[in-house]
């Protein structure tokens, strides 16, 4: 079973999106949620705390979600962290690149609570 108290890191440069994802996660039963506004802040936070899941946007500055994903997968301490990309980038090449870089799942914005829940179940297991 999924530990609903596990810490989750959400990464997006839009405050509104952070708020939306946080509220959806709370509605699904998760309670320990941290936020970062770009990849470099997220990476720094991941080095200081063990997260059970990262949900990241792609298009951010200065460090993109894609660069964050590659950095996480290249780090021996962090590489096993489940990683879901939530992005408006919906070209095939983006999805393929993210898959090759080791993303666990990929959600196209805008998305519904049902889609987020389904992907969380796919990545984390039933809850």
């Amino acid at each position: 079973m999924v530990d609903m108290k596990m810490p989750i890191l959400i990464v997006d440069d839009y405050r509104t999106m952070l708020r939306i994802v946080r509220n959806l996660l709370v509605k699904l039963g998760f309670s320990d949620i941290d936020e970062a506004s770009d990849g470099s802040q997220a990476l720094s936070m991941m080095k200081g705390r063990e997260y059970g899941l990262v949900i990241s946007d792609w298009n951010m500055q200065p460090m993109t979600g894609f660069d964050l994903l590659k950095s996480v997968r290249a780090d021996t301490q962090l590489k096993a962290t489940p990683f879901i990309m939530v992005t408006a980038e919906s070209k095939v090449e983006n999805v393929v690149a993210a898959r090759q870089a080791g993303v666990n799942n990929y959600i196209i914005k805008p998305f519904s609570a049902a889609v987020l829940k389904a992907k969380l179940k796919t990545v984390l297991g039933e809850f």
């Binding site: 939306i20 509605k27 298009n59 919906s90 983006n94 999805v95 990929y106």
Partner: protein, 172 residues
């Protein structure tokens, strides 16, 4: 006025005409360098489509939010448990609808880039006409230094990109 004075004035006028023609030719040559078909053929039509998509998305989100609010207004509170469930579900729909802000923000950024491109062209044209043309560079798309930059396209327009179902099949 003697014949020498008249001849000098004709020579001066002729020289001025030659200078004007030369300036026009130089300006035309420099303006030619600024010709960038991608502005008219790609960037401006794309910006127009982005604005259309922004209008459609904001209208859809507004409609979703109002529908959720209307559903909450019609809740029968005689059954508090059911009422709480309906209100909760409708609040989630409002949250989902609010994600339009992210998408429209990215689309507006794309339109802004096109406007900045137009502004740069106008500045370059002014420079070409005012004789500051030597500093003008021919129009060219800047090649992305980072290969991953080619993956930063922003939200797709209708008919572009792939759907969530297609992605799910890739991850199945």
């Amino acid at each position: 006025m003697g014949p020498d004075d008249a001849s000098a004035r004709v020579r001066k006028l002729t020289q001025e005409c030659v200078d004007i023609v030369r300036t026009i030719l130089v300006a035309r040559r420099e303006m030619g360098k600024l010709h960038d078909p991608s502005l008219r053929e790609i960037h401006l039509p794309r910006a127009s489509e982005e604005i259309g998509a922004i209008l459609a998305l904001t209208e859809s989100a507004t409609n979703d939010i109002m529908l959720a609010a209307e559903d909450m207004m019609s809740v029968d509170f005689k059954n508090p448990e059911l009422a709480a469930e309906i209100v909760n579900d409708q609040c989630m729909k409002i949250f989902e609808a609010c994600s339009f802000q992210d998408i429209t923000g990215q689309r507006i950024s794309s339109v802004l880039k096109t406007l900045q491109l137009v502004e740069k062209k106008i500045e370059d044209l002014e420079g070409a006409w005012s004789g500051a043309s030597s500093s003008i560079q021919p129009a060219a798309e800047a090649a992305p230094v980072d290969p991953d930059a080619a993956l930063l396209n922003g939200p797709a327009l209708e008919g572009e990109g792939i759907q969530q179902d297609d992605i799910d099949r890739l991850f199945a």
